[in-house]
Symmetry: C2
Subunit: 300 residues, 2 copies
């Protein structure tokens, strides 16, 4: 079989559902109507009708579509569960790369990975092609793919790019009107930062998630499809690397909380330049953390 007949199978089962609402001897509606009802093309409807005829459920000749008997449980066609979505695939892939610390230059085996992630090889191919725009993977000279991965250069350029995007977001944010929903959100975040700082000795590992939410909140004020696309990748990369570097985690996180609070305070005061300066400081620290995390990790 060239392509899966999953669509046909689902339509067939849906048709059985519909037949159960009828009585033996009833006429089924027109092909077009059924197609609309099942949300498939007429071609599929006709295949379904033919199969129903073969199963002895239906007498079908021209416009005559008489139900011969009510469908039973055994009439249903088995249908396998549908594959995961593109977004899930992306998360899975980045998760795999970052969690297992796949080294740069690793050849990526499309067939094997497709099996591992439970998607068609074709879909994975497509996904890798789209990832190549972020420079995370690239085609090898004579076929196949290879992970470019998180080299030092990549990390630096990603951090720099993040800085550009986020400073812009901070700038925008400072100019937003008082009734914008971001302000209560920031106030809530500020309280959470204070709460975490107070219990830093026991809860310092909770910071990673708070950091993610803080940056997501700031990024959310810029409605731009290009920015959004990048932030997905940036968030994941920083999230994982933050968790890698266990050295001085408590101190680092306490310092970062302070940096966050400086940004929030400046923003609340509508002091744009102070907010931008505070954000720049924080992002510089963050970049250094990322780089040192890469260094330490390379030694393992």
């Amino acid at each position: 079989m060239a392509r899966t007949d999953e669509r046909f199978r689902e339509a067939y089962n849906a048709m059985l559902d519909y037949c159960e609402t009828l009585a033996t001897g009833d006429q089924l509606p027109a092909e077009h109507g059924l197609a609309g009802h099942l949300n498939v093309s007429r071609t599929v409807v006709r295949s379904v009708l033919e199969r129903l005829g073969g199963a002895g459920l239906l007498h079908w000749q021209g416009r005559n579509k008489t139900l011969l008997r009510r469908p039973e449980a055994g009439d249903r066609l088995p249908v396998q569960s549908d594959p995961i979505s593109a977004d899930e695939l992306e998360r899975h892939f980045l998760d795999w790369v970052l969690r297992f610390d796949v080294p740069p230059g690793t050849p990526l085996n499309v067939t094997e990975m497709a099996r591992k992630f439970g998607v068609a090889p074709h879909s994975l191919q497509e996904f890798l092609a789209s990832l190549s725009r972020f420079g995370l993977v690239r085609r090898r000279p004579r076929g196949g793919w290879e992970l470019v991965g998180f080299t030092r250069d990549y990390a630096i350029e990603l951090s720099d790019f993040r800085m550009v995007l986020e400073l812009n977001a901070v700038s925008h944010l400072a100019a937003l009107p008082t009734d914008h929903p971001i302000w209560p959100q920031l106030a809530a975040l500020e309280a959470e930062h204070h709460a975490l700082a107070a219990e830093i000795d026991t809860r310092y590992h909770d910071f990673s998630l708070l950091d993610e939410r803080f940056h997501a909140a700031i990024g959310s004020v810029v409605r731009n499809r290009f920015v959004t696309e990048f932030q997905k990748v940036i968030t994941l990369v920083f999230h994982y690397h933050y968790q890698w570097d266990k050295k001085d985690e408590r101190e680092r996180n306490l310092a970062a909380i302070d940096e966050h609070l400086r940004v929030i305070t400046a923003l609340t005061d509508r002091n744009e330049s102070a907010a931008v300066a505070a954000a720049r400081d924080h992002l510089r620290t963050s970049k250094q953390t990322l780089l040192s995390s890469l260094r330490n990790h390379a030694l393992v």
Copy 2:
């Protein structure tokens, strides 16, 4: 044939070249050595040897590889020229979309387009997948692709994103040391702007190219793979739309030259804030031009 045997054909011809350096009766080196010499795998070498045997050029049995006669011109296998590269494909595609003003929502027929651009359908698929990261195309619910295209929203977000990237570049540029190659480059551009302004009545349509070079020069100081990737698209979009809007072209271009010169002057003076302000003004104008060009174009 499942995949092209271009690699085999090239190796075969290269092997003929090599055989011409030998005399009749000579022994050929080991498979592995030939593989290294021809830069292909041993499998290909063995196929080549087999074919040479079939052509009566070689007696091959085990490690006995005796050249029976010198190759002639007629022995060569024809090889077709290789298809265009990914970058060429990108230019072709954007060129097609922008030049023919393909409307948003147009379904993209992979087979047909592959024929038109002279690439394998597979390659085009991959290219579309990578373009989907820029939101220029997207997958349709049940298979196939569709052009999202340059809607008003897209143009606005693209312009905003361009502004973020370019203001950052201007900021960086202002801080570069005196011996950086950008400064003579800027000086040359300044002179060209003055020259064009002096002859604006006859040469006003030359501005589009100068504009492109001006922005490319500014963008070149930021070495960042993510920025570079986007600038390719941005450049093309603005380049074409600039040429669309014929209304008041002379005046618009003259004004833009002035805006460019303001940026250059501020940069030369190392006055960062003035340079950023001038660039912001120019990019705002540019955004308006893009939007009005879309409006006018939609009426055609």
